[in-house]
Amino acid sequence: MASLTDHLSDLVEDADAVLLFSPTSSFYGRFEDGDTDIIVVAPDNDIDAETFVELPLPFDNVKDRIRFGIEGAIDADLVSEGDEVACIASVFDGGSDAVIRVTVDETIHTGIYDLFVNSRAEPSVIRDVFEVAIELGQKGQKGKPVGALFVVGDAGKVMNKSRSLSYNPFEKSHVHVGDPIVNVMLKEFSRLDGAFIISDSGKIVSAYRYLEPGAEGVDIPKGLGARHMAGGAITQDTNATAIVLSESDGLVRAFKAGKLVLEIDPEEY
């Protein structure tokens, strides 16, 4: 038993900071008096923590969650490269059940935090689109797997780099992602070919768009299809973010600046 405790104390020894993922307020209170820096990473700051990183999606993948938290902490100058941090998170449902030690270096920097916080579009819009894509990936269109391509942000430029395949069903309408009814509409329209274009503030500008970006030098993993290529390429040409639901493997991928930033399996949500 002693060796187990030793191992645990080795894990947390001289940690420069502690990241608490969605702690309860009593759990947070136990840490408050210690001398290490406490950083709370949670969807809402309802426990009034001093240093707080907002988590836009409840990343089921603990690695993604920790990466997001650390990148957010780097962005807020709470930790810097070379620091050792201890993360206390919940891996299974329920309370904080895991202690993970992470060294902050560039490998942690995948751009997940950047994707949400430093995109042109608002973080909540990106989150809403992610949620639609994830839901679509889970349920499909009438039980069949379906693919979809959402281009979020920088809509003016994206519109000028794409052409219409058919009449735009969202013309003269003022609908925004995140409204429940709109999510149903998006699902219905997902059987259409082409991309959805969504503005910085979440307004659905158009469906049925054929993207025409220059695809030179786009570096996306081999094996992904034309939809991913189009999505990746448009983010290189514009400041938009592309969120793609793959029809073949059912994964939701996000591209930014021509690079694959995040990969989520909808079935895990």
Partner: protein, 262 residues
């Protein structure tokens, strides 16, 4: 064996009928007060009042004294009915002394009841308004905005106090004048501060309904040329060569729109 009933009959006979009637009224009043109190409490609870006023200062103070706003309101109605019952009983009993006094109290009592009710409701609404405004402003971390929530609260409480005072017949003309001056200042200030915003919103409604330009069009408005990125109620965002111009909608409307086609 027969002594006790006889004594009781004699006792009943000596006490005048109207005293019995008065006691009956009193008993009835007590029962009614209790029933109304319970019904009131249930009604208020069912109407969701406790959840709505959760966290207000008044409710918290009430909790410190081991009670709650709903209880206080229910008790208040009970006490009112008891007081009325006592006065009716006294009248029925025909107790001569201080008749004038009781008559005035009887007339004054409902007013006092309404005044206290208005005051409590006013304080609770004031607290709630303060909470709502504070919550809304919590995201904006500006210390100067800290004066707003109490201001809202005391405005509401002030109006409630005015109504309550008016109810019990206190001269409130000076206070009403003060309120009018305050309201006028607020309206004037708001009108001045939001003049452009209101104009922009009016133009924005037109732009959103008619859509003379949509996202992706190249336009020149208010001297700025570029691609439309966003149109909302107040502003239009136009981007060109890495510069994003945020143009208020009223100036879009005033200066006209040039659609650039090529």
């Amino acid at each position: 064996m027969s002594a006790a009933p006889t004594a009781l009959t004699e006792f009943v006979a000596t006490v005048p009928d109207r005293i019995w009637l008065a006691l009956l009224v009193l008993a009835f009043g007590l029962v009614a007060a209790f029933v109304v109190g319970v019904i009131n409490r249930r009604l208020l609870t069912r109407a969701g009042v406790p959840e709505v006023i959760e966290g207000t200062a008044f409710e918290r103070t009430a909790r410190e004294f081991d009670t709650s706003t709903v209880h206080i309101l229910a008790k208040l109605s009970s006490y009112f009915i008891i007081a009325v019952a006592i006065i009716v009983a006294l009248t029925v009993a025909d107790i001569q002394y201080l008749e004038q006094f009781w008559a005035e109290v009887a007339a004054f009592l409902p007013q006092l009841f309404v005044a206290v009710l208005v005051l409590i409701v006013g304080v609770v609404i004031g607290d709630k308004a303060e909470l709502l405004v504070a919550e809304r402003l919590r995201g904006v971390k500006l210390p100067e905005l800290g004066v707003l929530p109490p201001l809202v609260k005391y405005s509401v409480v002030y109006v409630a106090a005015l109504i309550a005072l008016g109810q019990i017949g206190v001269q409130t003309l000076a206070l009403v004048v003060l309120l009018a001056a305050y309201a006028f200042a607020v309206v004037l200030f708001a009108a001045l501060a939001t003049k452009d915003l209101v104009a922009s919103a009016a133009a924005g409604v037109f732009l959103l309904l008619q859509q003379p330009y949509v996202i992706g069009d190249e336009v020149r408005v208010a001297g700025e040329r570029g691609v439309v990125q966003e149109v909302d109620l107040f502003v239009t965002r136009i981007e060109s060569d890495g510069e994003e111009h945020v143009v208020p909608n009223h100036s879009v409307f005033r200066d006209g729109i040039v659609l650039i086609r090529d």
